[in-house]
């Protein structure tokens, strides 16, 4: 695995950005109450990973990571559709998209 020196040292910056995005997404997912926002946060996490993958792929100079990114996007899109439809159904029942309203299921 020979390293491509073109972005050599700046690899870390990309990684930091990616990890930061991922962390933001995660924290947002934990703290925010609005389902839509939650969905966005998770998308953010996925995209952070995408960024990371792209970085690595350029670092290693092989492309399959970039192909993986496409897959991830597709999956994200699929998740988004399903997620939105689920949210809508949920809204139909409780007339609310505040996640804290949904706590009938507990011990």
């Amino acid at each position: 695995m020979q390293a491509n020196m073109s972005i050599g040292t700046s690899l870390d910056f990309f990684l930091f950005v990616a990890i930061a995005l991922f962390a933001i997404g995660a924290i947002g997912a934990m703290t925010r109450k609005n389902m839509i926002v939650l969905l966005m946060c998770i998308e953010l996490m996925l995209n952070a990973v995408n960024l990371m993958l792209v970085t690595f792929s350029t670092y290693y100079g092989n492309g399959d990571a970039q192909i993986f990114v496409f897959f991830t996007m597709v999956v994200a899109a699929a998740e988004a559709t399903v997620g939105l439809s689920i949210i809508i159904m949920a809204y139909r029942n409780l007339k609310s998209i505040d996640i804290d309203m949904y706590n009938q299921l507990k011990n």
Partner: protein, 443 residues
């Protein structure tokens, strides 16, 4: 591979046939598809997975697929009563089920992280939908919401782990990753963190502590029909993914993560069984018992070669499905353990199936559940002796959980009311019971 194709095609076919609004037709089509998939897998038994050349690879690829198909057949049959209630969607449900089964098969046998991730999503997304099929009920919606968000959160984590691994090794090929790690890279922080993130994702999928939270709520919200499917298939595929992906890739860092696994096992078993004791909803009780069983499954990681995980998951599925079917009879509308009182007396088949299933789950010989546990522990004791001892202590609590259920179900009612079984339900009960009983001959 070809069983995946068969299933996929059957799923598409099912979507079209679903237009005809004939539940039985869709059912028979999907059953046929499943059977064919199983047969195909059987004849592909000789198929050499690229991993097979490795020592420490589970040489049973086709058996897993067959088991998945058989369990899905049981689940479909057992849940059919529910699916056929809304005629216009029966086909869709069954197709969704088949699609996610494709995912499960992929997930169980990946040789590439990309494939693995895809399989994971193909398995999960249809189940997100299936959990929410009770359109009218708020709990079903809530369950769907919770499952969806926790699930996608987990897949993000897994993805992150995959990325880190790629960063460490520069490949998605499981073989390459493993070989690259083998030459010492596995000690690099990136690889280790990657392994931990991946592990987290896996633990979430099989629902062990501390990533078990979705379990109880989703199980309770989901309808019995879906529960039958998700409580078995997801676990089977999940544990095989753990063994074939995690176990293979990180074979060389065994001593790095095995203690963590032991910790997870013990925590899940005690938490699962103890919490199950106070439950009032059967589905929740099942969820907690499944948490404990997930912990038990992880013992397979301690010695992948010798532990017969197939037997365990088979026994687990063959014990869980009849219980859920019986719960369907006991709790047609609401969901309370109290309604189990005297259920065993309503129908002789139900009584036998219930006793056998519960004792099998409790691990009383000579039922399948015992041999599953036994084979796992037999392999695990030399590596994780203390975890094994604690696990057995925990399973005493587990036995009490099941006995409580049993005592309730066997209480002789003052007035004998008969309950008739639909043909497919009785078929499921009969098959699973025979399966649990005949284990002695299969080991």
């Amino acid at each position: 591979m070809d069983s995946i194709v068969i299933l996929f095609i059957t799923g598409l076919l099912g979507l079209f046939v679903g237009m005809r609004r004939q539940a039985v037709l869709s059912l028979s089509i999907s059953i046929l598809g499943l059977i064919f998939a199983g047969i195909a897998a059987y004849f592909r038994g000789t198929y050499i997975s690229p991993l097979a050349s490795y020592s420490g690879y589970i040489p049973t690829p086709s058996n897993v697929i067959i088991l998945l198909c058989v369990v899905s057949i049981l689940a479909v049959l057992g849940g059919f009563q529910r699916y056929k209630q809304d005629e216009e969607h029966t086909g869709d449900y069954l197709s969704l089920l088949l699609f996610s089964l494709c995912g499960a098969i992929i997930l169980a046998q990946p040789n590439d992280m990309m494939l693995f991730f895809i399989g994971l999503e193909i398995l999960s997304i249809p189940i997100y939908v299936l959990v929410g099929i009770e359109k009218g009920s708020a709990t079903s919606a809530e369950a769907a919401v919770k499952y969806f968000f926790t699930g996608s959160f987990a897949s993000a984590i897994i993805l992150f782990g995959i990325a880190l691994l790629y960063g460490a090794t520069g490949s998605f090929q499981i073989i390459e990753i493993q070989s690259n790690l083998a030459i010492g890279i596995w000690q690099s922080p990136m690889a280790m963190l990657g392994s931990l993130f991946l592990l987290a994702g896996f633990v979430f999928k099989i629902g062990a502590v501390p990533f078990h939270f979705w379990g109880p709520d989703v199980y309770q919200g989901a309808s019995n029909a879906v529960l039958m499917y998700m409580s078995t298939i997801v676990k089977i595929a999940g544990i095989y993914a753990v063994l074939n992906v995690f176990g293979q890739i990180f074979r060389d860092s065994y001593f790095f993560w095995i203690d963590l696994i032991a910790l997870i096992i013990v925590l899940s078993m005690f938490y699962g069984y103890i919490t199950a004791w106070k439950q009032t909803s059967f589905k929740r009780l099942l969820a907690y018992s499944s948490i404990a069983n997930a912990g038990l499954m992880l013992f397979a990681l301690s010695d992948i070669l010798n532990s017969n995980i197939l037997l365990f998951v088979a026994a687990y599925s063959f014990a869980t499905i009849p219980l859920v079917v019986i719960n369907q009879l006991a709790n047609p509308t609401q969901d309370a353990i109290a309604n189990w009182e005297g259920i065993a007396w309503k129908n002789p088949l139900v009584g036998v199936a219930l006793v056998i299933a519960l004792f099998s789950l409790a691990g009383i010989p000579p039922l399948a559940g015992f041999f599953g546990k036994f084979s796992l522990l037999l392999a695990a004791v030399p590596h994780l002796p203390y975890a094994a001892i604690l696990a057995l202590v925990a399973s005493v609590v587990g036995v009490f959980v099941y006995l409580r259920l049993l005592i309730l179900a066997l209480k002789k009612p003052t007035v004998q009311t008969k309950q008739s079984l639909s043909i497919e339900q009785s078929a499921v009960l009969l098959l699973t019971t025979l399966g649990s009983l005949s284990a002695l001959y299969f080991i």
